[in-house]
Symmetry: C2
């Protein structure tokens, strides 16, 4: 919107995009620490001073990477919701699974997205994050409309749910929760959020699978 970084083809032909793509490859391969501007310049076949025209410094490139990360996460969450029925529990389970799935692949990127570091991140990243979580909020909104939660304060419930899902994503990436148990655990989570005896339902979900 602000810039006209469009599709010019000068010496290299939109170097910016090429740099970001190379950066993501390096990020997946070796983590954020091993990501070097000079490497990216070599990967894209330009001199080491060239990236400066597109990113003020290394941190600016990492921020841009975080922005694209939130965009992709948002897209995957939306896909997950669309790929399942209209039932709230199914949707909830789908977004949670998609969230953790994104975290497992792209773990270094997720770390970058939530780095926040000192100044709590530039507004561009914040805005991208908000957009990325829209789907999650939509699902929770549906849940409250359907009357799934005790509707006291839906905002609070949403935050708790968000924290839980994100917490699992973090712990799985850190190797402290085996991914195989996740379906089980999300079942537990949903049971807790459900919190309705529903006397006629008998035992819902005694042993999963």
């Amino acid at each position: 919107m602000a810039d006209t970084h469009a599709e010019r083809t000068y010496h290299h032909g939109n170097l910016r995009r090429a740099l970001l793509q190379a950066a993501e490859r390096r990020l997946c391969a070796g983590g954020a620490d091993s990501l070097t501007l000079r490497d990216l310049a070599r990967d894209t076949g330009v001199s080491h001073g060239a990236p400066r025209r597109h990113f003020a410094d290394r941190q600016a490139l990492l921020d841009a990477l975080a922005v694209t990360g939130f965009e992709r996460l948002g897209g995957e969450l939306r896909m997950a919701v669309q790929g399942v029925g209209e039932g709230f529990v199914d949707r909830l389970r789908a977004v949670a699974a998609a969230y953790v799935h994104f975290a497992i692949r792209n773990s270094a990127l997720l770390e970058l997205m939530f780095a926040g570091k000192h100044g709590n991140g530039p507004p561009v990243v914040q805005s991208a994050a908000d957009d990325g979580f829209v789907v999650l909020l939509e699902v929770i909104h549906q849940g409250q409309k359907v009357g799934f939660f005790e509707a006291k304060d839906p905002e609070r419930v949403a935050l708790v749910l968000f924290a839980t899902v994100h917490g699992f994503a973090t712990l799985v990436v850190a190797g402290m929760v085996p991914p195989g148990q996740l379906d089980d655990l999300f079942g537990e989570v949903i049971e807790q959020f459900l919190c309705r005896p529903r006397p006629g339902a008998g035992d819902r979900r005694e042993v999963p699978h």
Copy 2:
């Protein structure tokens, strides 16, 4: 136990501890990225090659830092439990608050502790992490003995609780959840884990404080 790094006083007098202390200061001040071996050498008044005798490389120092972090976290959690009554809900609330409190101060250290990076961290760090979370597990064990949870699978409940608390810690550090709302939110969490109508109790916890 393995080494005899005890309290020798050579040229500097246990440089290792001094390096770790300087490292923590730098960590709080500017994050892990700005932590430099050469800076630490300057801070402690030794040559830049000296740290090599105590830490194989920069990552080894960061790992040692993570270990001390888990030790301190464990200590603070234990303190928090001891500083409150024997009631389970009080204890649960206390450890959760202490956990997030530790995360807010020491945010850079927490990031280090859960970095895991690629190889999922050396076993020394893993072991320290286990020790640090012992208190959390003890509290949850108490909860299941008291019959607080539906005791189906206490391990699962414990993991969910852990993920939720850790998730909040992460989100607060990332600036996505205002710390002021935490007491509120933990109330919500405990309500959900409680999951017992208890008809005679009236409205428990309408407005906190």
